[in-house]
C-alpha cells in the first residue's frame, strides 16, 4: 500500500467519473455525423446532467424508499466497476479486491436494483422494461463470464491486472480464441449498454424500449445519476474491452512516468472505439425484441466456442 498507488487509484477514479459523459457525447456526435446531422456537440451530456440537477424532482405517489435509493447504488456500482478496470494503470491498490467474476457480479447487482426500482411504481412500462432488462441480462452475463474465462485461461488468472500484464507485456501472440471472445464481447457490450440493435437509447417507443422503459419514472437528480451511471457503464465496458483485447500502453503499477503515454493511448483508443461503436449502431437496424434472445444466444455460443477452441489448440 504505497501512497503513489493510492494516489494513482484516486486519479483514475476521478478520471473515469469525469471522462464517462465525454465518451457518450463523442459516440452521439459521431452518430450525428454519420447520419450527416450537425449534432449537439461532444459536451451535450454534461449540459444534460447540469440541467437535470437543477430541476425539481417528481416522485410517483407510491414510490417506495427502494425507488429513491436505487440511483445511488447504481451510480456507486458503476463507478466502482469503472475505477477497478485498469484504465490507465495496473495493480492499483483496489484491484486485488475484485476480479473479473466479481466485476460481472457488480454489473448484475446494478441490474437487479434498477429492475426492482422499475417494478416499484407498478406501471405497465416499468415492469415491461424490467422484464426485458433481466431477459437481456441473464443471457449477457454468462456470455461476458465466458469471455473473461477465455482470457483468464490464457493468463491463468481471473484478476484483470494479471490478465493485462500477461497479454500486454509478453511477446505478442495471436490467440484465435480471443478473436471469438472479442466478437462475443462486442455483442454483449451493445446489449448491456442499451445500444442499437438491441435497444435504442433515444426513443420512447414502447414496443422496443428496454432501458428507457425502466427509468421512465425517474426525474431530476435521480435521472441524472442514472444517466451518469449508464455513461460510466459504457466507459467501463469499453475499457474492459481494451484491457482484454488491446491492452497496450497501460502503465505498470505506480510508475508515473508511464502515465502520460497511458493517457494518450487511452484517449486514442476511446476515440477509435467511440467512432466504431457509432458506426456499428448506424449500419445496423434495431431488431425485434423477440430476436434479442437469439442475438444474445449467439454471443453466448461464440464465447463458449472461444473457450473450447482454447482447449483444442491449447495455450
Amino acid at each position: 500500500m504505497n501512497y503513489s498507488g493510492i494516489l494513482l487509484q484516486l486519479f483514475q477514479d476521478t478520471l473515469v467519473v469525469l471522462v464517462a459523459p465525454l465518451l457518450l457525447g463523442w459516440v452521439n456526435q459521431c452518430r450525428a455525423w454519420l447520419q450527416n446531422r450537425s449534432g449537439a456537440g461532444v459536451l451535450q451530456p454534461y449540459r444534460n446532467l447540469v440541467k437535470l440537477f437543477h430541476k425539481d424532482a417528481v416522485l410517483a405517489n407510491n414510490a417506495s424508499p427502494l425507488f429513491r435509493f436505487t440511483p445511488y447504488i447504481l451510480f456507486a456500482c458503476m463507478w466502482l466497476a469503472a475505477s477497478l478496470v485498469p484504465v490507465v494503470a495496473t495493480d492499483l491498490p483496489l484491484s486485488p479486491a475484485v476480479d473479473v467474476i466479481v466485476l460481472v457480479g457488480i454489473f448484475a447487482l446494478a441490474r437487479v436494483f434498477i429492475s426492482l426500482a422499475a417494478m416499484d411504481i407498478g406501471t405497465s412500462f416499468g415492469t415491461l422494461g424490467a422484464r426485458r432488462e433481466m431477459l437481456v441480462g441473464f443471457l449477457a452475463e454468462p456470455a461476458l463470464l465466458m469471455v473473461f474465462f477465455t482470457a483468464s485461461m490464457i493468463s491463468h488468472s481471473t484478476s484483470l491486472s494479471t490478465i493485462v500484464e500477461t497479454l500486454a507485456h509478453k511477446q505478442f501472440v495471436i490467440y484465435p480464441s480471443l478473436a471469438f471472445a472479442s466478437v462475443a464481447f462486442v455483442m454483449v457490450l451493445l446489449a448491456e449498454n442499451a445500444r442499437i440493435p438491441v435497444d435504442n437509447p433515444s426513443t420512447h417507443l414502447e414496443l422496443t424500449m428496454i432501458h428507457e422503459a425502466m427509468i421512465l419514472e425517474y426525474s431530476a437528480r435521480h435521472l441524472a445519476l442514472v444517466e451518469w451511471s449508464s455513461a460510466l457503464k459504457l466507459l467501463a465496458y469499453t475499457t474492459i474491452g481494451f484491457a482484454l483485447f488491446a491492452p497496450w500502453g497501460i502503465a505498470e503499477s505506480g510508475n508515473w512516468g508511464g502515465l502520460p503515454l497511458a493517457l494518450a493511448a487511452l484517449f486514442a483508443k476511446l476515440l477509435a472505439a467511440g467512432a466504431g461503436l457509432a458506426l456499428l449502431e448506424t449500419v445496423s437496424a434495431k431488431m425485434r425484441i423477440f430476436r434479442v434472445p437469439e442475438f444474445m444466444g449467439t454471443a453466448f455460443l461464440l464465447a463458449v466456442l472461444g473457450l473450447l477452441i482454447h482447449f483444442l489448440l491449447g495455450s
Binding site: F53, H54, D56, A57, V58, L59, A60, N61, S64, P65, L66, F75, A76, C77, L80, P96, A97, V98, D99, I101, V102, G105, I106, A108, L109, V112, S115, L116, M119, D120, I121, G122, T123, S124, F125, T127, L128, A130, R131, R132, L135, F138, E141, P142, L145, M146, F149, S152, H156, S157, T158, S159, T162, E206, L216, P293, F300, V304, L308, F311
Partner: protein, 669 residues
C-alpha cells in the same frame, strides 16, 4: 468428567428436543404455552447444538454407543468434522426457524399445534441423528423417522386432497430411496450382520461393487435431495407444508442427502472413479438448469422457491462432482477447493432458503395468498419484512457482496483452475459445464427479481376488502433477522468460515483451502495465489457503502433538494390500474418462449368475443409424462395381468397346486 465430550452434548440436545416434543403433546390444552415456551426452548437447543458443533469441528472424532438397536448392533454414534459441520448447519439455521415458528404458529388451535410441535421437534432430532449415526441401522432408523415426521408435518392440513397427494408422493419416493440406501449399505457391510461404518471403512470393494454402491447411494440420496428425475415430490410437498416446515425441509433436510452422498463417497468408500464425478457433474447441471427454468415460470411463490431449491441442490451436486473428479485424479488441492465451495453453498442455502420460505410464510399469513398473480405492493404494508426478504433475494441471486456469490465464485474458480486433467473429454466437458453453471446463476437473478418485484413492489394486484395486512411480529422479525444476518456475515467474512470448513475437507480429501485462502490476511480470499484470483467482499462492501454515502453527500451539498409527489407518469398514459402491471405469467413469458421444448405448456386463450374472457396458462413438468406416468401404467398393466391369476374357480386353484407339485417333482428327478 465424560459428559464434557461434545457428542454427549449433542445427544443431550437431541433428547431435549424429544422431550419438548412430548411436552407439546401434553400441553395440547394450552396452545399459548406451546408457542411462547416450547418453540423458543427448541431454538435454545438449536443454539447449543450450533455452539457445540462449532467447537467439535476439527476435534478428534468422538464416539458414543447407546444400548439400543439390534442385539449385535447397538446404536453407534460418531461426531467427526463432517457431522459437526452439518450439525452446525442444522443448529444455526434451526435457531432462526424455531424462533420464527414461535411467532408464526400463534393462531393455530391446540390439538393440531401440540401434534405439530411434537412432529417438528422429532423432525429436528431425527435430522441430528442422521448426521450423528455411525452404523447403518441407526442411520436408516433416523433417516426414515425424519421422512415420517416430515410427512406428517407436510400433511398437517390433510383435508385438502392436493396436500394428501403431495404427502403420499413425498413419502413414496422417500421410501423407495431409502430402500436403495439400504441396499447400498448391504453391499458395503462386512457380512455376518456387521453394519458399523467402522467396518465399512475398513472393507475393500471391487471397482464394480464400489460403482454399484455409489450409484445406489446417488439414487437413494438423490431421491431425498430432489435430483432429476426424482425431484417431482419437492415442488408438491414444499408448498403443501406450513412455511417453517418448508424452511426446515428445504434449508436443512435436503442437506442430509448431501451429507449422505459425501459420507458414502468420500468416507465409507475407499476409492473414487472419475466417471462418478462426471455423472454427478452432468446430473447436477441438468438439475440446476431445469430447476431454475421451472422456477422462472411458476405462479405460486412457494413452488417457485421449491424449484429454486432444486436448482441449488444441482449446484451443490456440481461441486461434489468436481470434487470427485479432482480427487480421482489426485488433484487434492482442487478437490478441496470444489468441496469447500460445495459445503459453503450448502450452508448458504440453508440460510437464504430458510429466510425466503419464512418470508413467504409471513406473506401468506398476512394476505392469505400464495398466488403471485394476486399479490403486490407489500413493501408499503410490511416494510420490515420487505427489507429482510430483500437480503435473502440478493443473496440467493448470487450477487456480491452477499453469501450466495461467495460459493458460486469459489465454484467458478474451481472450474477455471481445472484444465490439465488427463482426460480429454473431461477437459471439453468442464468449460461447457462452467458456462451452464453461469447461465443457471444468471437465471437465478431473473427468478429472484420476479419473486421480489411481484410480491413486494408495484401496486396490490387484488385488493382484499376488509383484510387488514399488518407487518410481522417481534418473534418473526427476530428469526428472520438472524437468518438475514447469517447471509450477510457469510458473505462478508468468508475466510473465517472457510477456515472452519477446512477441517471437513482435511478429513475427506486430506487437503485444505484455508491455508492458501487466508494467506494474505483474513480480508482477502485467495484460493490459490493472490495474482491468480482474489476477492475481498469486505472491501467491496465498504467501497459500495462509501460510494453511496459520498454520492448522497455531494448531491445533497450541491442540490436544492426540492421534491414533489405526483401520479406516476408512465409515458403520459391516461389512466392506469394495478391490473396493467406485469403478472407472474407475463414475467415468465420470455423464459417460456426461449426454453419452450422443456415445458409442457397448456394454455387457454380467450377469443376476442368472449363475454367473460378467461385466460388459463399452466406449465407442466414433463418428467411426469416421461418417467412417472409410464411406470404407473406399467405397474397397472402388470398387476391387471397378475390379477387374472386369482380367477375364482376352485378347479383352477387346484390345478395350480397340482402343476406346482408335478413341476417340483420333475425338477428333483
Amino acid at each position: 468428567m465424560p459428559a464434557s465430550l461434545p457428542i454427549d452434548w449433542v445427544i443431550g440436545v437431541i433428547g431435549y428436543w424429544l422431550l419438548i416434543g412430548l411436552a407439546g403433546l401434553v400441553l395440547q390444552r394450552t396452545p399459548r404455552l406451546i408457542t411462547t415456551l416450547l418453540f423458543p426452548a427448541g431454538a435454545l437447543g438449536a443454539l447449543i447444538m450450533a455452539i457445540v458443533a462449532l467447537g467439535a469441528l476439527g476435534q478428534a472424532p468422538n464416539i458414543a454407543v447407546l444400548p439400543l438397536g439390534l442385539p449385535d448392533l447397538p446404536f453407534h454414534l460418531r461426531l467427526d468434522s463432517l457431522s459437526a459441520f452439518f450439525l452446525l448447519l442444522l443448529g444455526a439455521a434451526g435457531i432462526g426457524i424455531s424462533v420464527y415458528s414461535a411467532g408464526y404458529f400463534r393462531k393455530m388451535e391446540g390439538n393440531t399445534l401440540g401434534l405439530l410441535c411434537f412432529e417438528y421437534h422429532v423432525f429436528l432430532a431425527a435430522m441430528a441423528l442422521v448426521f450423528l449415526a455411525d452404523d447403518a441401522y441407526l442411520f436408516m432408523v433416523a433417516w426414515e423417522t425424519m421422512a415420517l415426521s416430515s410427512y406428517f408435518l407436510v400433511t398437517t392440513d390433510h383435508n385438502v386432497p392436493e396436500i394428501r397427494r403431495a404427502g403420499f408422493l413425498y413419502l413414496l419416493i422417500a421410501h423407495v430411496g431409502a430402500i436403495a440406501i439400504l441396499m447400498c449399505f448391504g453391499v458395503m457391510q462386512g457380512g455376518h450382520g456387521d453394519y458399523t461404518f467402522a467396518t465399512m471403512r475398513q472393507g475393500h470393494l471391487t471397482t464394480f461393487w464400489a460403482s454399484v454402491t455409489f450409484l445406489l447411494a446417488l439414487f437413494g440420496f438423490g431421491a431425498k435431495a430432489g435430483i432429476l428425475p426424482l425431484h417431482v415430490w419437492l415442488p408438491e410437498a414444499h408448498p403443501a407444508a406450513p412455511s417453517p416446515v418448508s424452511a426446515l425441509m428445504s434449508g436443512i433436510m435436503l442437506k442430509t442427502a448431501i451429507y449422505g452422498i459425501l459420507r458414502v463417497t468420500f468416507d465409507l468408500l475407499d476409492m473414487q472413479l472419475w466417471w462418478w464425478g462426471a455423472l454427478a457433474l452432468t446430473l447436477g447441471l441438468v438439475t440446476a438448469l431445469f430447476g431454475v427454468m421451472f422456477a422462472a415460470v411458476q405462479t405460486d411463490m412457494k413452488r417457485l422457491l421449491a424449484y429454486s431449491s432444486i436448482e441449488n441442490i444441482g449446484i451443490i451436486l456440481v461441486g461434489i462432482g468436481l470434487a470427485i473428479i479432482f480427487h480421482a485424479f489426485h488433484k487434492d488441492a482442487l478437490a478441496a477447493l470444489a468441496l469447500t465451495a460445495t459445503l459453503y453453498h450448502a450452508l448458504n442455502h440453508a440460510f437464504m432458503k430458510g429466510l425466503l420460505f419464512l418470508g413467504t410464510g409471513s406473506v401468506l399469513h398476512a394476505t392469505g395468498e400464495r398466488n403471485l398473480g394476486k399479490l403486490g405492493g407489500l413493501i408499503h404494508r410490511m416494510p420490515k419484512l420487505a427489507l429482510l426478504v430483500l437480503v435473502g433475494v440478493l443473496a440467493i441471486a448470487g450477487l456480491p457482496p452477499l453469501n450466495g456469490f461467495v460459493s458460486e465464485w469459489l465454484l467458478l474458480q474451481a472450474f477455471l483452475l481445472s484444465p490439465g486433467l488427463p482426460h480429454p473429454y473431461l477437459n471439453m466437458l468442464i468449460p461447457i459445464a462452467a458456462a451452464a453453471l453461469a447461465l443457471a446463476a444468471a437465471l437465478a437473478g431473473y427468478v429472484m427479481v420476479k419473486f421480489y418485484g411481484i410480491i413486494f413492489l408495484g401496486q396490490p394486484r387484488e385488493e382484499k376488502p376488509g383484510k387488514q395486512v399488518h407487518d410481522i411480529g417481534i418473534m418473526e422479525r427476530l428469526g428472520l433477522t438472524w437468518l438475514a444476518l447469517g447471509c450477510i456475515l457469510l458473505g462478508i467474512f468468508p475466510v473465517f468460515f472457510i477456515l472452519h470448513i477446512d477441517y471437513v475437507t482435511q478429513m475427506l480429501v486430506g487437503q485444505t483451502l484455508g491455508g492458501t485462502a487466508a494467506q494474505t490476511g483474513w480480508m482477502w480470499l485467495t484460493p490459490i495465489q493472490p495474482e491468480r484470483a482474489s476477492y475481498s467482499p469486505l472491501i467491496l462492501f465498504l467501497i459500495i457503502i462509501v460510494g453511496v454515502v459520498f454520492t448522497m453527500q455531494v448531491v445533497k451539498k450541491f442540490y436544492h433538494g426540492r421534491l414533489r409527489r405526483g401520479p406516476a407518469w408512465d409515458c403520459g398514459f391516461p389512466e392506469q390500474t394495478a391490473r396493467m402491471q406485469d403478472t407472474a405469467e407475463g414475467f415468465g413469458q420470455p423464459i417460456r418462449q426461449i426454453f419452450e421444448l422443456f415445458f409442457g405448456i397448456i394454455r387457454e386463450v380467450p377469443s376476442p368475443f368472449d363475454k367473460k374472457p378467461h385466460y388459463h396458462g399452466e406449465t407442466r413438468d414433463l418428467f411426469w409424462d416421461w418417467c412417472y406416468v409410464p411406470i404407473a401404467r406399467f405397474t397397472e398393466k402388470l398387476s391387471a395381468l397378475i390379477g387374472k391369476l386369482q380367477h375364482g374357480r376352485i378347479h383352477v386353484y387346484l390345478l395350480y397346486s397340482f402343476v406346482t407339485l408335478l413341476a417340483l417333482l420333475a425338477f428333483i428327478r
